[in-house]
Structures are given as C-alpha cells and as structure tokens.
Subunit: 144 residues, 6 copies
C-alpha cells in the first residue's frame, strides 16, 4: 500500500521506485491487476510452451498493469473505458474480455459499456462494433 | 412499398421521410434488412444484457439498413459486394457472415464471391483473404 | 435547449424526437458538434465533389454528433476520451485531430491526453502510439 | 486483344496462358493496368532503390492487374467498387488514389463513389470514412 | 530440384521459368509449401464451394509459396520470422497457425517465437500480442 | 558494456538489473537505441506539450529499446526484420522510417528490405505493401 503510493509518486516524478528489480515490478503489476480484475491474474505456462514464455507474461504485465494503470494522472474508471475502446477497436477478443471484466469491477456499469459500443459503432463502424459486442454479451452473461 | 419509395425519394433530397420517429426508422430499417437477408433480422437481448442494448441494435440497424442500403444511388448488388469487401477486409467474422447471406440473396453468385476473395487476396493479402474465406466456406455450406 | 433535453430524453426512450426530419436531425447534430468543438463544424463541398457529398456529411454527422454524443448515458468527458482512443487506435489522423480538439474543449487536460497515449502504447503498441501522437503534438501546439 | 481473350479464357480453365514468361505476364499486366487507369502505369525506380525493386513492382502488378483484374468472373465496374472499398477500409491513401482513378475510368460515377463512402461510414465507421474521403476529394478535384 | 534452382535463378533475373503454365506454377508452389510445412498443403474444396474456389487456392498459393518464398534474396528462416510477424500483427489466426508451423519446421525455435511475441507486444501492443499468442500456445502444444 | 551484458543476462533470468531505477532504465534504453540507429534517438518535447510527455517517451522507449531489443534470445538482425514487418503491416509511417534505418544499420541490406516487401505484398496485400513502400523509398534515398 505504502509501496503503491511510493510507486505512483515515483511515476509522477518519471521514476520507477528505486531498487525495484524486474521481479518486484512483476509482483507489483500482478497486485495491481488483481485489484482491478477483482481476482488474481493467473497466466500458467501452456503445454509445450518454453520457460521464456514467463518473460512474455512478465513484460506484457509490467508494461500494462505496472507502468500504465497505477499512474495517478488518470483514474481507473477512465483507463477502463479507454482500455475497452482500444481492445474493441482492435477486435482482440480475449483481451477485450479481460478489459470488460476490469471495467465492470471498476465502477463502469453495463449501461455505460453499451453506450461505449454505440459510440464505437458510429466511429469504428457497425461491423467492428457488432463483432466486438459478442464478447460484451458473453461478459454480461457471466455477471448476470 | 409506397413508403419505401417515399423514403428513398426523401434520401435523394437529403431528407428523412417527414414525421418518422426513431421507432418508425427502426421498423423501416428492419423491413429493409429482412428484404435483403431473405429472413427477419432477429436481435434478441442477451442474458444479463441491459435494456439499453436495444438502442445499440436500433441505431446500428438504422445507420446501415435504414440510412445507407435503401438509398437509390447504388443498387443492392453493388452494395452487397462492397459490404462483403468491407467486412472481409476488417476480418469481422460475424458481420461478414451476414453480408455473405445478403449477397447470395441479392443475386451475387457464389462464383462472384470467390472472385471477390481472389481480388481481396491480391490487394489485402493472402493472410486476411484466407482468414475471411473460412466464413465464406461456412456460408457456402449452408446454402448447398 | 428544451429541444436538446427533449431529444436526449427521446433517446433514453429509444425514440428520436417526433416530427424531426433529416434536416432537423442534421441541424441538431451540427449544433451538438459546435458545442463540443467550441467552434462551428464547417464541411464545405470540395472542388468537383458532387452534391450528394452533402448526404455523406449529413449522415456521418447525424450518426456521431446526433445519435451518439448527446445520449445521456455517458458524459461528454468520457465520450471524448473514448473517441480519442478509437481514432488513435485506428490511426485516422484527421478525425483524431478533431477528437483531440473536442477533448481539450470538454475538460480533458493535455496531461490526461498524454496518459491516454501511455495507455495506448501499452495496449496498442509503441508504433501506433507514436504515429498517432504526432497528431496530438500538432494539436498541443495549436492550443499553446 | 486475342491475347487478352486467350488469357482470360486460360484463367477460366485455371491456367495461365501457355508459354508466357514472367516478363510476358508483366507486359500483359501493365497493359491491363493502362486500360483500366486510362493512362500508363509508370513505376520508375526511386533514388537509391536497388534493382530488385523491379521485382517488387513486377510481382505486385502481376498479382493484381495480371492475375485478378482480367478474370472474366467479375466485371471491371464491380472490381473497381470492390478495390475502392478494400483500399478505403485499409486506409492506404496512395493505393486508394489509384483505385479511385480506375473506378472513374471504368464507368463508376462520382455520385456512386460517394454512396460507397456513405456505406463505408456505416460499416467501417465515420473515422475511417472521413480519413479515406480526403483522398476521394483530391481525386474529384483532379477530374473536375 | 534442378527445376527449383532454375526457378529461383529465373526470379533473380526477374523472370518466371520459361514455358511454365499456371498449373506448373501451382505444382511448384505446392512443392515449396510441402517442403516448408514438412507436410503436404492440402486445400480440398468445401461443401457447396464452387469449382472456381480452386483458382482462389491456386493464385494465393502461387503468390506466396511460388512467387515469394523460393526467392533466393532472403533465407527461409528470415521469411518465416517475417511471416509470423505479419500474420500475428494482422491477427489472422488460421494463417498464423500455418506460419508458426513453417517457422518451427524451418529451424526457428519455440524460444525465438516467444521472443518475437515479446517484440510484437512492445511494437503492436499487449492486446494484439496476447490475442495472437493464443495461436502460438496451440501450436506449441501440437509440437510437444 | 559490462552493464549491457549484465542486463542481457538479467533478462535471461527474467530479472531487470538489480538497483536500476526508471531513469537508469531510460538511459540504458537510449544507449541501445543509439547503438541500433547509429545516431542518438532525440525526442524533444513539442510546442505546448506538457512535461508528462517525457513519461510517454521514457516508457515507450524502455518497453522497446530497453525491454525487448537487448534480449539475447534473438539477434538484432532478426529483430530488425521483424520490426520492419510489424510497422509496415500496421502502416505506421513514422515508426516504419525508424525501423528501416535500424535495419540498414544492423546489417540488413536494401535488397533484403525489398524482399521483405515482396513477402509483405503476398501476405498483407499489394495495397498495404505499396503504401508502406513509399517510406522505404524515402529511406533508400537518404542512404544513397
């Protein structure tokens, strides 16, 4: 907690918390992900996946949940809306599923998510919006 | 029928049919969609989806089947080819499925759809073309 | 004003304001765009552009500034952040310029826009983020 | 001419014209491109570009103007609309410029091109449509 | 074999091997694909797919495995890394699966593929990288 | 130098070099970028850009030149080809320019870059390939 404040503060100075190693960064990023998702972010290695697969998870997790989400310059709710908009525009279904769960866990309502898709349909088109909306429907069903 | 002509005419004037409300627009758009698909466009709310989900369906349906398809400036067959090209280029599988059904129902032959994918492969690449072609194969199988 | 409330209300009922024609919708949408941009949205026909070009402007403007922005389900600030995220992810430079101007005029700070690009870089990558950031730099320079 | 018929026929058999070499294919493709553009397709090597740059031009030209456009399964007008839709959806400005010139030279009217962009705006969104429309405005101005 | 050398040589001259017909090109391309995949590339017509579907397979196969892969200007290993990067960036899952199999069969290690995804995550973003990585996990599992 | 080895080694252990702060990471990343580009990577703040713009540069630079490029699991030449493929597929012109300069400075020849674009044209299409190739032509001209 003190750590997170220190870290967030560090960010505002354009610094990482002094003396943190990659593993500390990862632990911190996983903690942030868990807080946002409302559940632990579990990324076990797959069958036949080489051990370096851990580095892929570690770096992608640090770059998102460690280096961007905890920054104090934008609130979680705004970042959640932005993250859903990015994943829905890209049409990346699995990441979109995660972002929608974070949004619902960060105080964004289902109604606001639908509004985001209405806005997405106008700017990124009905084809992309309907394609990505299938993922929203699946997440709405989980939550119901 | 008279209505559709009125509306189409209205479009050519850059007007919507006077006195139409959002619900009339939606009814009209759904009628156009049914004519193009050869079957009703049914979009029931999903499990846990909030009621505002209806607005997402209504607006996306009006913007496509209400505000663009019935315009007299381009024939249905040309719009069908364009719609398949757009959805296949975007790689939006579900919307592509619908556009392929509309195309086959609008007098575009399976052979012409394959030609479109040959053209798509040249301009948007073999990777995107093969990826989207999987959807065409599924629709060809329905129709056979 | 009463009109805008009526319209917004109408939206919440899933209705357009009764008795509005396409031209009324357009006038209303242009009014909303001007309020958001802080200046009139001027889209004159280009050299050699056919008159139907007006319909393209009218429909695209109604679908965005008429049918989505004024909806009461999401505040302007949130829509502005979402709009910047969509245009930056798509890499559509001209529309991104407009969205950035709307964001700055809707109470989003330059600092928050930079935070959005830090988030974009993590999720949509450094290549897209840097490419779209060039447009942000140009808009920051206007505003300075 | 007889050649083109032979070739087109060959395509319908799933064959290239017997005895054609890469250079013959290229000559034929450039002939097709000139017919479609209404002017020669000139692709000179750039400053400091290595000679193999010729192979890039040759293969890309054969794959598009040689292997797809002359196929008898779809008329030039339909291919022109599809090509504009693909390039506009991708947001590839230079290729879009060429496809718009081909369309205008293949009997597609400026009005129909605007209709295509109205359709594009509905399905691929106002951001992409406006971004690509800038290229259409430039081509309309040339033609006026 | 001699044939392939002749062909590769022909490419370096900017020529196709003289006297080859479309069917010869296809046979040659399928041979190259089999060598790269370590198994025959089998593309049977689908249920209800029209015979012209063969032309789509033939042309897309010639353009990739016939006209690009065998060129002597870049080694298979480099082309395999480039192909995986392209398919992963586009998010075309089925083609990515094939490219990953080619990579593993061309001496690219699983560890190097993970490194490619770490690089992809930095430049094309964590959303796209994670989305495409699901396909890599499936191919790693096959190979284990 | 010892530092870089330590760091690269650290990566292989899934660790960042102990005791490095964000500023050390940034300094190291800028050093790597300079080595790859053959010139310093200079990213001055723009007119009217807020100071937090430094964090955008710092994080995007660390995520690419700090966390991915120096990893020992893939050689610079392979990463350069992959980076060009990613930026060319995305159509991000400014970043592509930088990646092409890195490639030419990392022992990739102009001929090999053209081969990459021939491959890109086959898999990502002639439209994207030609669009991105304009940037390659500009970089070839610099280098000539």
């Amino acid at each position: 907690m003190a750590m997170r404040q220190h870290r967030a503060h560090g960010f505002d100075q354009g610094l990482r918390a002094p003396g943190m190693t990659g593993q500390d960064d990862y632990r911190q990023a996983l903690e942030n992900a868990e807080r946002l998702l409302g559940q632990p972010l579990v990324l076990p290695l797959g069958d036949g996946e080489p051990p370096v697969g851990e580095d892929f998870r570690r770096l992608a997790t640090i770059h998102t949940f460690g280096d961007s989400w905890p920054r104090s310059g934008l609130d979680d709710r705004s970042r959640a809306l932005i993250s859903v908009a990015i994943a829905a525009t890209l049409g990346t279904h699995e990441p979109l599923r995660g972002q929608l769960r974070i949004a619902l866990n960060s105080g964004v309502t289902k109604e606001e998510i639908v509004e985001l898709f209405i806005h997405l349909s106008a700017y990124a088109g009905a084809a992309r919006a309907f394609d990505s909306y299938q993922v929203a429907l699946a997440v709405f069903a989980e939550a119901s």
